[in-house]
Structures are given as C-alpha cells and as structure tokens.
C-alpha cells in the first residue's frame, strides 16, 4: 500500500479520517464525563434542517453554505437543549430527545415539501460520508507534498478538518483547567468565579463545530462513534484525565487508520473483490477497541458501585 498510488488515493482520506476522529474524540472526553455523550447523536440529527435550508437559500449543493447551515442548526439546537434543561429543570438526555427529534422531523418535512428531494441529498451520503472519494489527483508521489501547485489540488475537506482539529485542540488546551474543574464539581467551580454555564455551552458548541466539519467529510456514523468510543475506552485505561485524553487520541487515530486499511484491503485479503465502507469500518474498529477496553482495561469500575470502607 506504500506504492505509487498511496499518496493520491490513500493519504488524503487517511489524514481526513484521523483529523475527524481526533477532533470529535477530544470534546467527547468531557461530554462523556458530563453524561452528555449522546450530544454527537443529537447534533447529527439536528443539522438536517440546517443543510436543507442552506440548499433552499443558495439553490446549490456546495460545501460552505451547507456547513454554515448545519453549524447554525447545531448551535441553535445546543442553545435550545440548554434552555429547556435549565428552564424545565430536567435531565439533559430528555431535553436532547425533545430538541433533536423535533428538528430532525422539521428537516425531513422541509426536504419533502421542497424540490430538494430530487437532488442528491441522500441518507447514504449523510451516514457514511464519502471518505474513499476524497482523493488527490495532483498528488503524484511524496514529492508532491512539497509542491504548492499540487497541494492546491488537495480535497478541500482536508484543510477544513485540519483547521477544525487545530481549533478544537486549542480550545481544549486553553480552557483545560476550567473544563476540568467545572466538569468535576460545578458548584465549586462557580465559587471560584468560573462561568460554568458558559463553559458548558462553549464545550457543546465546539463539539458541534467538530461534528459538522467531520460530517461533511466522513458522515455521521464516524462522528457518533468518535464522540463516545475512544473516550469511553480511554477512561478504562487510566485514572487521570490528562492520560485519558492521550489514550483517546491514540484510540481515535488507531480506529481511523486501522478502519481505513481494513475497509480497503480486508475484503481483498479474504478473497472478495469489493472494498467495504471506510466510515463503517472505522466506527466498527472503534467499537471493538471499546469492547477490548471494557473487557480488559486496568481501570474499569462499575459506576455507582459502593466503595469499601
């Protein structure tokens, strides 16, 4: 696979897959500890009306307006969820359930009632993305990585998701302490003068940005899996949040690389002619890693189990 076709055909999807996986796994660590891990699932539903609206407004299937529409819908959903949770004093899960089903239903209605149904806005694309199609025809070999002319031909998803990853990493590093303290003990964090409501909101908005950027490239299956599986597996490998983040980045990378390779070459090794969906395989690998960690991780505990003493 490190042949001549590796750079144009496999390198971009691999990099995009790895960036998307890490960008989702980073906020996923905090969402998991805050019992909000399903927010990735919620976001994947609520972006539909945003994408449809963006299409109706611009009349074209182009990435930027649709990402903006999706991002707007995601942020709106996050604000709605927080509002319902605070005003109604109910569990976050219930608030998410109300908001994401309503917005998803709205998106489907919108899709049905307009002519968009004839356009290529289909479920398959939304779920699995099109990782394999993100190829780099100008990339003729490793030397192309230093050729500005060739670099311009990179699939636009790659710089987008790379920028997103940088943004998500910077957010995590910069607000590490407030995120950690307010996730562990919100009341104490408030007595320190930390704006805990704002921190929680910023976290879900960052997660929404990561999710929308990743959807565009790799579809929602990976997004939902990466918010939950690498952080959950990482939690069972260590008892320190700092190390948990490291493990989750490792698991996300491993899932993306192993999943991509297995999807592309696994069936061939087994004697089948076709490859399988890379997105589906990446999600599967992350699930298997989680299962491994759940079975053998050194720091497994039964949540809520009584402590001796």
């Amino acid at each position: 696979m490190i042949g001549a076709e590796f750079v144009p055909l496999s390198l971009p999807p691999l990099l995009i897959g790895v960036c998307a996986a890490i960008a989702c796994a980073l906020p996923g660590n905090f969402l998991l500890l805050r019992r909000q891990a399903l927010i990735g699932d919620a976001i994947s539903h609520v972006v539909l009306p945003g994408i449809v609206l963006a299409f109706l407004v611009t009349g074209a299937v182009s990435a930027w307006p649709m990402m903006l529409g999706a991002g707007f819908a995601a942020v709106l959903a996050v604000v709605l969820i927080e509002t319902i949770r605070r005003v109604g004093r109910i569990e976050p899960g219930a608030a998410m359930g109300v908001v994401f089903t309503a917005m998803f239903a709205g998106g489907v209605l919108l899709l049905e009632q307009s002519d968009t149904s004839s356009v290529h806005l289909d479920v398959q694309h939304a779920l699995y993305g099109s990782l394999e199609s993100l190829i780099w025809l100008d990339g003729l070999g490793w030397a192309s990585l230093l050729d500005p002319q060739a670099l311009r031909g990179l699939p636009p998803e790659l710089p987008r998701i790379a920028l997103t990853l940088i943004f998500v990493s910077a957010f995590t590093a910069l607000f590490w302490r407030p995120l950690k303290i307010s996730t562990f003990d919100e009341g104490f964090a408030r007595t320190l003068g930390l704006p805990t409501g704002l921190i929680g909101l910023a976290l879900v908005i960052v997660a929404a940005i990561a999710a929308v950027a990743a959807f565009d490239a790799v579809g929602s299956i990976i997004v939902i899996a990466m918010f939950i599986c690498p952080p959950a597996a990482a939690r069972m490998m260590t008892n320190r949040l700092e190390a948990q983040i490291g493990w989750s980045v490792g698991f996300a990378t491993l899932s993306a690389v192993l999943g991509y390779v297995l999807a592309g070459y696994g069936p061939l090794w087994l004697g089948y002619a076709n490859a399988v969906s890379a997105a589906g395989m990446i999600a599967t690998v992350s699930g298997l890693l989680l299962a491994r960690a759940a079975g053998f991780g050194p720091c497994r505990t039964r949540a809520g189990a009584p402590v001796e003493g």
């Binding site: 004093r89 302490r177 562990f184 009341g187 190390a243």
Partner: protein
C-alpha cells in the same frame, strides 16, 4: 454578643455595618419552583466564629449556603462578604460542597483535586510549580491524607473523600470557610479530624460556617447557631439561640423528644 461584635479598636461596631461581617445576607429569597426554599432571610455570620446552620430536612440550609456563594441565583436579596459584593471577594471564600454532589468516579487523583483549590493563583495556563505541590501536600497532611496523594479519588472511603474536599478548601487559603454537611456519613475518625481542622482555623481567626444536621454535637463544636426553616427562626450564640423553644419552632413535631433531650 457585643463582645463578638467589638471592632479592632475596642468600640462596638454598629449592627448594620456590613463590612464587619465575613458574610451578611439581607432579604434572601430563593425558589426552585412555586414554593420558596428560602424566604426573606437575613443572616450575619460573625468573624472568627464557628456557626452551625441547622434546621430540618428541606428547610433550605444548603440552599442558603449555595445562594450565599452564588451557586444558585436568588429571586431577591443582597449578599455581601466583608461589606463588598461576593464577586470581588472570591479569593477570601472557600467552599466544601456536599460529598454526594460530585461523581467520585471522575478520573483524577487526590492531589489534583487539592490543586483545584489553587485555581485562582494558577489561572488559566499557569504552570503547577513545586511550591503549589508543596501547598497541596501540606493541606493533605493537615487532614491526615498525605499518604493518599496519588490515589484515584474513587478508591477512597466516604470519610477520606470528605477530608480531600476539606484539604482543597484549605488550599484556597481563605478567610471564610463554608461547609455543606461535612459530617454526613463519615466515620468517627474523619469527624474528629475535620473538627480539629475547623477549630484550628477558628484559632487562626478564620470564620467557619457549617450546614449541620446532628443536634447532639452542636454544643461541643460551635459558638453560634443559625436556625432556619425556610424563614429564619433564630440566630445567636449557642447559649442564646440553641434553645428548646427555637428548636421546636424550627423542627415542629418532627423533633423526637429523645433527640431534643440529647441536644438541649
């Protein structure tokens, strides 16, 4: 009463001089739903005293504390810390939440929890230096938990977890310590260790306010009491305010005679 109110120069401070009180609450009303949890409460916590906030379950003890700290937003009322708004005095206040209010399965070590108490010194990106670690270790030592510094917090007993919370509050180096039910569900050794630390704080001139549920120990542990049952029932020194009449008023029929006998 006038004695504890005496200002540094010996003259008695006027009762309404808010600057005199580490924590003063005026006209506080807090509501979670239709019914107020705390209604129109005035309270003045005296400097250098150990005060117990007592009252039956659901009387608004914790709510009073949380509103005083700005954790819950009151409907109305004014909170001052040494006469100034709370937001400007945060570094003078330390808080020990109820142990059950956090998830002890959180992936962090004992020493990391104590370091959280140094957040206002460390800031967003300040590096944890040796002196910060030394402070944290010294605080753990004061509560007898030094040997557990690198344990994951979920591996501690309830009493040990409570002591870690107290160590975090000590790390804050505050003048006013607010504790929410620190003795709830802890072993006798922990209760002893905690009370020793609190008395030590008092000896250093710090102010300690404790939401407390065990009437039997009020006389041994505290100088002052604040009785609440949604509204203020009584406030004063233990001798003045911790009386059978006031307790009946606060607890109503819920106070068993036996408990009463032990307490009063």
């Amino acid at each position: 009463m006038t004695l504890t109110l005496a200002a540094a120069d010996g003259r008695p401070a006027p009762a309404e001089d808010l600057a005199h009180f580490p924590l003063a609450i005026r006209g506080l009303t807090v509501s979670y739903g239709e019914k107020p949890a705390v209604f129109s409460v005035d309270a003045s916590f005296h400097p250098g005293a150990m005060t117990a906030i007592i009252g039956p379950n659901g009387a608004g003890k914790s709510t009073l504390l949380k509103a005083a700290l700005g954790i819950v937003t009151p409907l109305s009322g004014q909170i001052t810390c040494y006469g100034r708004p709370l937001a400007r005095q945060r570094e003078r206040i330390a808080y020990v939440p109820q142990r059950a209010s956090v998830d002890w399965d959180f992936p962090t070590r004992v020493i990391d929890v104590v370091l959280m108490g140094l957040y206002r010194q460390l800031g967003l990106l300040g590096r944890v230096r040796q002196r910060h670690l030394d402070t944290a270790r010294a605080c753990l030592d004061r509560v007898g938990m030094a040997e557990f510094a690198t344990r994951q917090i979920g591996q501690l007993s309830g009493g040990q977890q409570q002591r870690v919370f107290l160590a975090r509050a000590l790390a804050q180096g505050a003048d006013l310590y607010l504790l929410d039910e620190p003795f709830a569900g802890v072993d006798a050794a922990t209760e002893k260790a905690i009370i020793a630390v609190l008395k030590d704080l008092k000896a250093q001139g710090k102010t300690v306010v404790v939401v407390h549920h065990d009437l039997a120990t009020v006389r041994d542990y505290f100088d002052r009491v604040f009785l609440i049952n949604t509204t203020r029932i009584a406030e004063g020194t233990v001798a003045e305010a911790f009386t059978e009449t006031n307790l009946q008023a606060a607890y109503g029929g819920r106070l068993a005679t036996a408990q009463m006998g032990a307490a009063v």
